[in-house]
Symmetry: C3
Subunit: 265 residues, 3 copies
Amino acid sequence: MARVITFLSDYGHDDDFVGVCHGVMARITPDARVIDLTHGIPRHDVRSGAMVLRRALPYCPPGVHLAVVDPEVGGARRAVALRTGEEDHLLVGPDNGLLSLAAQRLGGAVEAVDIGRSPHRLEPVSATFHGRDLFAPVAAQLAAGAPLAGAGDPIDPAELVHLDMPLAHADGDELVAHAIGFDRFGNVMLDLEHTELTASGLRLGRELLVNGEPVRYATTFTDVPAGELLLYEDAYRTLALAVNRGSAASHLGLERDAEVRIRPA
Amino acid sequence: MARVITFLSDYGHDDDFVGVCHGVMARITPDARVIDLTHGIPRHDVRSGAMVLRRALPYCPPGVHLAVVDPEVGGARRAVALRTGEEDHLLVGPDNGLLSLAAQRLGGAVEAVDIGRSPHRLEPVSATFHGRDLFAPVAAQLAAGAPLAGAGDPIDPAELVHLDMPLAHADGDELVAHAIGFDRFGNVMLDLEHTELTASGLRLGRELLVNGEPVRYATTFTDVPAGELLLYEDAYRTLALAVNRGSAASHLGLERDAEVRIRPA
Amino acid sequence: MARVITFLSDYGHDDDFVGVCHGVMARITPDARVIDLTHGIPRHDVRSGAMVLRRALPYCPPGVHLAVVDPEVGGARRAVALRTGEEDHLLVGPDNGLLSLAAQRLGGAVEAVDIGRSPHRLEPVSATFHGRDLFAPVAAQLAAGAPLAGAGDPIDPAELVHLDMPLAHADGDELVAHAIGFDRFGNVMLDLEHTELTASGLRLGRELLVNGEPVRYATTFTDVPAGELLLYEDAYRTLALAVNRGSAASHLGLERDAEVRIRPA
């Protein structure tokens, strides 16, 4: 039986882009199951795509993971396929950092090929739709059992583009984190996970100061009165800031990558 | 072969919530087919979810039906799985009434378990994403053949939360129905099905008064002139009010659950 | 194994229309794989649906192709299933031209049946949801191996409704094309494909006049300065007009089906 393929993109659902990629894959490997992770990544937002892929893939079966958020399609960026160190996941997509956070989470890239001239590609390759002509066919061939080494030219995994993300760290009795994501409610995702907080050895307690503002370390929104700030773990065990029935981003005046200094009150 | 799983939620398609639940299920039962009924239920609207599930499930194969519209996630509401009296359907979701209308339609719940501490759940269970950590794994295990009794602690099906819906009834020569749903065109769905109308013994004829306004009992919108009211059966054989090229909700000033009195003109 | 079914419609994702059709098909043929091509066709836009189907199906496996954009549902239009001359594709949908462009691309309709009274339909057939009651069951039965001839009453393929589309042609040293589609960025799709341009024998060169305006024949948007017009091949090898960081539709004042005269500068 063919392997599972997961598929993430910024293609949206208004057009037939996603459906055509499914068609291409079904021609190559009719019995592979394809799971749409999401196609709602904001257009061309490589970093959002990379963060979603990092948090979603650990919940997915080992298999082939196709990801396309590709603002430089048709330009000089490489197209790649890689194997991770854990559980034998194969990732396929543009080499713009989109795959890098997930690969890191899954044991790092241990083998990689440049698929720009892959024998699996559909000729003629269009200038703008590499999802259909390049990435989907390579993913489907890998799911059908084709070897990674045959999908392209070998490259050193260390040369893959890695996203330049801010990095939380301790600074004396403070934790210095960053606002790396926002949702539509104004909740602010930090670059800090529960395990890292524990590992840091810092004992924060329940009452904190975040950029000088009083914040409670709480479990759910309703643990604080309306209008007040809380620090909590979201469903992916990542720390996040919220205001109960309000916007933490506005309240704290945070923009993307802004520093968030956390200390006991 | 594993059983079919259907999946309904208010998760929408912008995020990876739906895709991650698919991933979780595919890890457990790679060969189960998952059918997305819809993920467009208005956020936290349990009653809309329950009504859609009731009308959709009779068209689906017997199997496992996962439904998540869960405004009290992480709170005191129970999480349940139940078996219906007809066709051996298994329903999985929060015990907030979401499953109740469909269960009633499918012969009633004849066996139920509280899955809050199910051995199938993914640890650690997050406070906010029970779709991923609790409901999807239980649904997948059931689809793979795990027994319902082993999915949780037995509860009396009579104790499951049932939605408090208005109920159409006869009042002398009038039918008293209610406006239970609205679509974006202002069409008004009533709590009255064709079979109930027939069973009521009331002979309405073609020309009616609805809350005192003249209405024609018609087959399609174009049976009445633009701007005029009609009562018709929608695609689910439920009675509905419309204005040809207009809004019946505005025309009649109807809000949710408002009384709709129908009599011959 | 059952054949692949592709599915295109204007149903959108807010409601359960798509999911219920999937349920109906899964009851009939549980092991058929269903590929959603798109459900984002603008409501009732038969021509857009037909153009998307034409460009998408050549990338899909041979199988059954279900398409529903059906503004006259419940009216006098026929419902049909047909076989194409190439690769044994079966198309199912309303006979309003929706299937005609794809059928033409795939070798033409060589056999057709009127499925309005198909033995495969779900009784009672509703007035408004033929996707569920008629088209999906017929598609699923065909995918399961039922013969086309048994799905309805034979009709002459030459009598199927064909879309009346404008047709590009040469006029002296000019190519006369038409604006047949617009995207949300104001890019204008023409009724002219790369192969037709080559076949026309016209040598356009790089610098053109389009309706009297200077236009460059280029590969990508960034080949021209911001605000300037280009003619390019889109991902389906169809010629299109764009303005780098602007709207070609506005710039040239083009409406649907407007004439677009192309000549060397």
